[in-house]
Amino acid sequence: MAETILEVNDLHTWFGKKKYRFGKRKGEFKVYRFGKEKGQYKGGKVIRAVEGLSYTLNRGEALAIVGESGSGKSVGVSTVMGLTHSGPTTRVTGRVTFKGQDLLNTVSDPKEAGLFKKHAAIREKEFRAIRGDQISMIFQDPMSSLNPTMKIGRQIVEPLLWHKGKLRQEIQDEKKRLLNEGGKEALKAHRKDLRMRNFARARGLKLLEEVGIPSPETRFNNYPFEFSGGMRQRVMIAMALIGDPDLLIADEPTTALDVTVQAQILSIIQKMRKRKNTSIILITHDLAVASSFCDRVIVMYAGRVMEEGSMADFIRCPAHPYSQGLLNSTPILGDERARLEAIQGQPPDPRNLPSGCPFSARCTKCMELCTREAPPKTQLTPGHNVYCWLCAGEKVQEKEADING
């Protein structure tokens, strides 16, 4: 049985409207807060950025989250990471379990969540330990997540020094190894290397070399602006991997890069994954990247899951009209179609989602039922689920009967 690393259960993230008003103190923000009613804000509608996201991720597995811009991919993972959490304008409900640990202890029903309920189950400090140590994240824009005034080397090694306990343990192990192999002499000779900072530095250098940065010794003392975009992205990867995370979340890690650099970066992540059996969540809107990298896929649209399943199932027989549309509108190298089959229309306004299936306005197979009620989950084959009335089978008749009778 594969070990489950991450379990996300019915995650909802809603954003309210921020409104700036002059407070008594300079720069003070006053914000509208959630009203009592579900989904209602005083003074505006709620953006339901993520609506009922659930998945489990096993050790060593790679999951792709694909979907249009604004479909809630980034918010979904930043909620899992705890970077988006409940606050005056944000409400998070659902359950996230990472290696058995509850990351957000919240009530599953949004109605039950009280007005100012404290959602954090584990204190911020503990969460931070998990975040940097066992879960890491690669962001879309490497420049904005690197500190421009700090040397690259220091930025890489820093996270290691935050988690001193783990580092100390590793130094002890290394000491034991040296003692066994070379006795006291060896220990003495390597005394300097075993200092915490030097030990961390050596790790950093090795990692830089692994991600393909030539002459890491000199590069260690450079500032981010002295690197090209692709190299910065590699530094980000090195930073994300230095703590040997169990879970790596990559949010569009290669979108801004050239194809040749993209291939390089993906091959580095792929090798790391093989060597360390890391679980990966890859967010992308490039189906080709997702399909060559991941074992499983979740397709999101307007904050909701449309289809989920193994990558092979998804590519071979996509069931949801949106998935089919995505595949049909992606130009593929070597295909000879004269025209792409585009999905007509525009993605819906997140503040103003249509009732029923969020895709209904653009769907060519839309039925009356679709615009009235959100489609239920239908299992096609084990692990391959789709949220569409077309696939719902008997449930459609039941619903029709309900309505008519």
Binding site: V259, T260, L266, S267, S291, L333
Partner: protein
């Protein structure tokens, strides 16, 4: 014989950076025939946008000539040039930045008619409205959007407005500089289809710049591959994608992720793209090329026709 719309010869554009010269475009030649599309691909910084801007005379060329519909563009008088320039338009990557944010959609589309009122003759309000409405229909922007402002539109709609404005004066030649790169896949396909339809209707010629090789394959009839300011390979699309000759083109093709059921291994090439400020001696690709010989590091390969219609610059094909 098809009519040649654009004939560019030996175009170079050098920028001065400090005391040094940056050869952004270095001796590029190509032809574009009526109703065809030249796709331009290449790494970031290889000079694609600079080439486009030189061809459109948005920035002056350092050397070289562009013949546009039989007239030597750079030799014309200022006024003649201005008239001719109406026949060529550009669509940019960032649709929002290329529209006037303080003007409504219809005003944005009407702008070219107003700017060129001297030559076109002043249009009455009703005529102007009719032309704008026609253009909006043509590119598929609903008429209700005539009075909204660009920021209220989605990226795809903004790009449609940008295309409408580019087509207002019935150009013969349109440069599309990464027109779909910032759009979602589903919207990207809509815009690509639109560009193809417009080409069929109006016999437009395009120069289509993009990162995405699959998109370029889909829309182009010919493709030029650029590397550090030079065209390293040029051929009809099918030929180039089936039999890439230049090692850089081959690497490029191998790097493109493909749809697959079982996952694929990625393999990047080693080495960084060298600084355009001091490109390697000899062949510019030699620092990253797996076939590199001593000759490649010393002597620059000539750009020549290796097979009929298929040009490349590489010592492997001497």
């Amino acid at each position: 014989m098809a009519e040649t719309i654009v004939k560019a010869r030996d175009i170079s554009k050098y920028f001065k950076v400090g005391h040094r010269q940056l050869k952004a475009v270095d001796g590029v030649s190509f032809d574009i025939e009526r109703g065809t599309t030249l796709g331009v691909v290449g790494e970031s910084g290889s000079g694609k946008s600079t080439l486009a801007r030189v061809v459109l005379d948005l920035i002056p060329a350092t050397s070289g000539s562009v013949e546009f519909m039989g007239k030597d563009f750079f030799k014309l008088s200022k006024n003649e040039r201005r008239l001719l320039r109406r026949e060529m338009q550009i669509v940019f990557q960032n649709p929002f930045l290329s529209l006037f944010p303080h003007m409504s959609v219809s005003a944005n589309i009407a702008e070219p008619f107003i700017v060129n009122r001297k030559e076109l003759g002043r249009l009455s309000k009703a005529e102007l409205d009719e032309r704008v409405a026609d253009l909006m229909d043509l590119v598929g922007v609903p008429r209700e959007h005539a009075n909204v402002y660009p920021h209220e539109l989605s990226g795809g709609q903004q790009q449609r407005v940008g295309i409408a404005r580019a087509l207002a004066l019935n150009p013969k030649f349109v440069v599309c500089d990464e027109p779909v790169s910032s759009l979602d896949v589903s919207i990207q396909a809509q815009i690509l289809n639109l560009l193809q339809d417009l080409q069929d209707q109006k016999e437009l010629s395009y120069m289509f710049i993009a990162h995405n090789l699959a998109v370029v394959e889909h829309i182009s009839t010919h493709v030029a591959v650029m590397y550090l300011g030079k065209v390293v390979e040029y051929a009809p699309t099918q030929e180039l994608y089936r039999h890439p000759l230049h090692p850089y083109t081959q690497v490029l093709m191998d790097s493109v992720p493909k749809l697959s059921e079982g996952g694929t291994e990625f393999s990047g090439i080693e080495g960084e793209i060298p600084s355009p400020l001091d490109p390697p001696k000899g062949c510019r690709f030699c620092t990253r090329c797996t076939h590199c010989t001593k000759r490649c590091t010393e002597e620059e390969p000539v750009y020549k026709e290796v097979e009929p219609g298929h040009f490349t610059a590489c010592h492997l094909y001497d």
